[in-house]
């Protein structure tokens, strides 16, 4: 099953990674959707900026 019909383990690994890497990248991108916004908010809170304007 893990070999997905390939003769060589390195090729099977490349096949799996070519499927899993984009999925991992997409998930990472979505999880960090608002990363910079959060960093700015944390910095502002550290510096004592009133978030309610």
């Amino acid at each position: 099953m893990l070999m997905v019909g390939m003769e060589d383990g390195w090729i099977a690994l490349a096949w799996w990674l070519s499927i899993l890497t984009p999925i991992a990248g997409a998930v990472y991108g979505l999880l960090n959707w608002n990363r910079e916004g959060k960093i700015v908010k944390v910095k502002q809170e550290d510096e004592g900026v009133n978030q309610n304007g």
Partner: protein, 542 residues
């Protein structure tokens, strides 16, 4: 791949292409309307949505020759090329967006940079770096652009049955009109549309190939059985079957690993036309959103080409008892078109035609835009700033300089001339050549610009010049794939390459990049770091 051979209706195809050009024209008009300043023209007003940026980055990266040409190469070498898909996504998207894109966007906004050369030059306070990168882009990029132009024109010639010269000029004129009028906004809007067409075509191609060959595992197993059909000449150079890696250290192993996988996979990080995309997004957050879209898009482009390519051998053996290279009479560029023609339904041919046309137009327009920006900003404007700063007025920043628009025409004319003048064997090597010199010249300097505050102007200049010189030396005198068709090594030394195997097959990036990096670190350590005030300006919001 003639229309008659493909069994398509030329009238229907003409209508489809007119509709397609209509949509492109409308998007070009929207881009034109939204372009009012130099910043709009050069970096799309730094106002682009993450999804559009990711699609534009993807289609700029993947051209017709990457799909058809590399797909054909995968049919020849086998599934080992899937490592390129893995590297392209891991390095070209995930690492590029998170570790390069985010700081590049911040730095470009802090310094007001609008081109690749300006970004490096302003970070290191060096007009020379901006000028050198502009010259390098303007001299060497046209060879790469000419491959895309030739690929697109050949495709139009065969699919619409029109004269090659007319096809070449038609393509050049269409691209020139919309790059001149709309700048990067038009380029990116049309890129996004092209990307959606390509995504539909390539996704269908992948699923239907596996489905027609009996499913994933079954198709791979049956292809493994064909190992004994690999021609003896290839077995002798290290080919061990389409579902196995080439023999370690063999000629084919060095070609696949050093040139195709490492050269293109790592080379992507220092591509000016891709780095510029990071400067266009509205917010840094957009780059993480873009990463999700970019990963999926690149998988369906390179993954499909590198899976369908090897599997075409199984299909051709089942149909006529011959492997793909034999069916294509040794021309690997014909394998993917022949496979699509024989296996796919009639309607799909229209979709794949539009996909391949989209790939050509989008990459071409992006390259031409970068060449024009290098001409207008990095060479002409930067030279005036350098030698005669009083000649630059505020208008230069607010209006779209006509000189940049002239750069579009100059860049296109050079590319057209190269398409006619250079032998095809040289043009075909231009991708690896361009990616190699870019990475060797600029990669250490870019990494230092973003992550090493004490890296110096002298270190950057020394690194760029040493990386560039060693890479050029390698391509001209050591790496057989380029040194043989160039012929300079034979002219001077009476042999095609100066050293014996494996140097004849090791991509120059392999030694030029480490040398460039070492020079960068050593020179930066022994020279004075930049002024604190300048660093504060560069990195205050990092």
């Amino acid at each position: 791949m003639g229309s008659e051979a493909m069994g398509i209706n030329i009238q229907i195809l003409t209508v489809v292409i007119i509709l397609y050009v209509g949509v492109l024209s409308y998007l070009a008009y929207l881009g034109h309307k939204a372009t009012n300043s130099s910043e709009d023209y050069l970096v799309a007003g730094r106002d682009i949505n993450g999804g559009i940026m990711a699609l534009s980055y993807g289609v700029t990266f993947v051209s017709t020759s990457a799909i058809v040409g590399f797909g054909g190469v995968a049919a020849f070498h086998g599934f080992s090329l899937l490592w390129l898909t893995v590297l392209t996504i891991l390095i070209g998207i995930i690492i590029a967006f998170a570790l390069f894109g985010v700081p590049i966007r911040k730095l470009a906004v802090n310094l007001g940079s609008t081109t690749f050369g300006e970004l490096l030059g302003q970070r290191y306070n060096s007009k020379f770096i901006t000028f050198f990168s502009g010259i390098m882009i303007f001299i060497f990029m046209p060879a790469y652009t000419s491959i895309i132009l030739v690929g697109g024109a050949r495709f139009l010639e065969s699919s619409l049955l029109i004269n090659y010269d007319i096809a070449l000029f038609l393509l050049a004129i269409v691209v020139a009109i919309y790059v001149i009028t709309g700048g990067l906004k038009t380029v990116m809007y049309t890129d996004a549309f092209c990307a959606l067409v390509m995504l539909a075509g390539m996704a269908y191609l992948l699923f239907s190939t596996y489905s027609n060959l009996g499913g994933i595992v079954s198709a791979h197993q049956e292809l493994s059985v064909l190992q004994n059909m690999v021609p003896e000449a290839l077995v002798a150079t290290g080919h061990q079957g389409w579902t196995a890696m080439p023999a370690f250290g063999s000629e084919i192993w060095w070609t696949v690993i050093s040139t195709i996988v490492m050269g293109v996979g790592i080379g992507v990080l220092a591509q000016p036309q891709l780095v510029m995309r990071f400067m266009t997004v509205k917010k840094t957050n957009s780059l993480y959103r873009a990463m999700a879209v970019g990963c999926i898009f690149i998988f369906f482009m390179t993954g499909t080409a590198f899976i369908v390519g090897p599997l075409s051998n199984l299909y051709f053996v089942q149909q006529g008892g011959e492997i793909a290279t034999t069916v294509a009479e040794g021309n690997v560029d014909l394998i993917i078109p022949l496979f699509i023609n024989e296996m796919m339904p009639g309607w799909f041919v229209y979709l794949i035609m539009l996909s391949l046309l989209s790939a050509a137009i989008s990459t071409l327009s992006s390259l031409i835009h970068v060449q024009a920006a290098a001409w207008g900003r990095d060479i002409i404007r930067n030279f005036r700033l350098w030698k005669s700063p009083a000649s630059i007025t505020a208008d230069d920043l607010d209006t779209i300089p006509w000189i940049t628009r002239i750069g579009v025409l100059v860049g296109l004319i050079i590319s057209i001339l190269l398409a006619y003048r250079l032998p095809e064997s040289i043009i075909a090597r231009a991708t690896a050549f361009w990616f190699g010199i870019c990475a060797a010249s600029f990669l250490p300097t870019i990494i230092g610009a973003l992550y090493w505050k004490n890296s110096t102007k002298a270190g950057a200049i020394a690194s760029i010049i040493s990386g560039y010189t060693v890479a050029i030396f390698g391509f001209v005198f050591m790496h057989l794939a380029e040194s043989k068709p160039l012929g300079i090594a034979r002219l001077i030394f009476g042999r095609d390459a100066l050293f014996e195997f494996p140097w004849t097959h090791v991509d120059p990036l392999f030694y030029a990049l480490p040398i460039s990096a070492i020079v960068f670190v050593v020179v930066s350590l022994v020279t004075s770091p930049p002024a604190k005030k300048h660093l504060e300006r560069c990195f205050h919001n990092f």
